[in-house]
Symmetry: C2
Subunit: 385 residues, 2 copies
Amino acid sequence: MTVTTPQGFRSAGIAVGLKSTGKPDLALVVNDGPEPASAVVFTSNRAQANPILWSRKVAENGAARAVILNSGGANCFTGDFGYATTRLTAEAVARELGDADAERILVCSTGLIGTGDQTFRDRIVDNIPTLVSALAADDETAPAAILTTDSVEKTATHRGDGWSIGAMAKGAGMLAPGLATMLVVITTDARLSDEALDVALRRATGASFDRLDSDGCMSTNDQVTLLASGASGVAPDANEFAVALTGVCDRLAAQLQADAEGASHDIDIEVRGAASVADAVEVGRSVARNNLFKAAIFGNDPNWGRVLAAIGTTEAALDPYQVDVSFNGVRLCHAGAPDRPVDECDLTPRRTRVEIDLFVGEHAATIRTNDLTHDYVHENSAYSS
Amino acid sequence: MTVTTPQGFRSAGIAVGLKSTGKPDLALVVNDGPEPASAVVFTSNRAQANPILWSRKVAENGAARAVILNSGGANCFTGDFGYATTRLTAEAVARELGDADAERILVCSTGLIGTGDQTFRDRIVDNIPTLVSALAADDETAPAAILTTDSVEKTATHRGDGWSIGAMAKGAGMLAPGLATMLVVITTDARLSDEALDVALRRATGASFDRLDSDGCMSTNDQVTLLASGASGVAPDANEFAVALTGVCDRLAAQLQADAEGASHDIDIEVRGAASVADAVEVGRSVARNNLFKAAIFGNDPNWGRVLAAIGTTEAALDPYQVDVSFNGVRLCHAGAPDRPVDECDLTPRRTRVEIDLFVGEHAATIRTNDLTHDYVHENSAYSS
């Protein structure tokens, strides 16, 4: 159990034919309260899919009652017809639940942009009675139904003192900040207000998904939904809850990084000695997005020159000639000049750590990314998503 | 003849052992006047190689007398020793020319970052007498000596009314704006002041090299040098000269694009209907840097959804739901929804045209880029540059 680990939730996942493989592709998570609250964070891409346009309005209406998610089609750039599909989906869920308002039903979609025709609509809407009848408090089927090119289910849970958090995620490509391009549903039975959830969720996503930058590409369909039922009767300390939520999101981010399409290295870029956290993030991201650096890591080449060339393109407070760069614990560049021999460094393990010390301040941040591989090119040229 | 097409110039290119292949790797272009003037544009990367640090000072001293260029080593992040190598190189050129000041000698280097040891220094400095003695007004050898992973020499000339322009360039990767990562030497026998040259050169590079973005990566060693001898005795109209210079730079940019490492498509992204040229450039660049879009083109997949997803990440004035996107003349997306069938579009030719109409203004710009291929990944993982 993941999203039903906390009390007050039911979920389900079924196959309705959106995926050509016949695998599960429609999931529903319902918040049964008794004190429902919610918070949602959306993609910062201005090109937004119909479910994002719909869910933004739902998020303004107070606590969401449920979230329905489909894989096998993004319903993005599908015109007025596509938006109507999203509305009809929410209405069908509300009708089947019996006691719900369509304006309180969040909708998420993931898959190929431009997919959202009559067949897509029918397969979702016609199967909602089946989906609702499959809802269970001990469900194990929802996480698989939101996957696209993912090779594994991504889940995380946290046990607090009398309360808990459960979460599921999908994401295997297009992982870039302003959310890391994914769908995430997080549930908790803690008693917390919409406002408290919103503060905690923004803090958590800012320090986790927003620092995952697999390929610099930002999706049109990103959504992270946090639902609270209040069913535990426990109101945890706000900071304790935020720390736990950040931990859950960070574990999901690590799973997304580890499953990035075609990657052969998971690279953690740790920037230290920055004048601000924002500077540390900017420096780390400039390296994470540098195709030459990423291709070098694929070839097990600890090319520190490409790190410095990437750093030099930022606005961050730094002097490129005062920077240290280490790969997997071996300092290859000291004060902007060669240090240890490159052959002391072994980049064959999948896990790769690049440490960058700017020596101008006390702030730090870690950006998670992946290498640029033949398989990345292949998967993203052969598979349209 | 390229850089010696205009009167008043001599050049030479020789092999001194910097390249393991034994190919030419040291070039010199000398301005013999009688009215020398010059302008230089440098990389906007804050991580700058020693020859850039040196040449920035030279550029402040008035008309440059000569420019010496080596391939086979970037002399970047090589410490004080590397800077001294650059200074010794300029001093040796000045000494051998006999009538020159080292502070008027521009230096350019290209190759692997971190390369610039005693052997590198000796091979350059010790061979400068040979290089100077090889100088000729009908030289054909300089363009080859500045190449790195380039497969062909890049040259362009322009014949004005009694005056001319000659140019040579190198660049086959790390092509991103704020100069497109390359070395360029342009000569003219027109009579023009340093100031007139500077205005013309910035206008020309802004509309050519700055709109070439092969892989989003910016180099530490970029330099575009324009030398005028005044030997024709003709002072062309400033606008006429700037237009001619822009044409020369644009033809070089097209050659750089066509020789980009590992590319299988040359993609021109034409953005129209923008509120400003800056908006058009930002939109075009966001698409040019999107790895998912670039991988799709490699697979001959006209994935217009990825174009819109990239556009949505910009700050430009636009509504993603009012945008048209065409691939090779076939409009696949109209007003943010699917238009013509994707299979009407043939992306098998190397030359690829993506047209994006924003319908918010009258401005336009074209960004040149390339696709993301297996060969790009291979060449940039196997070859350290």
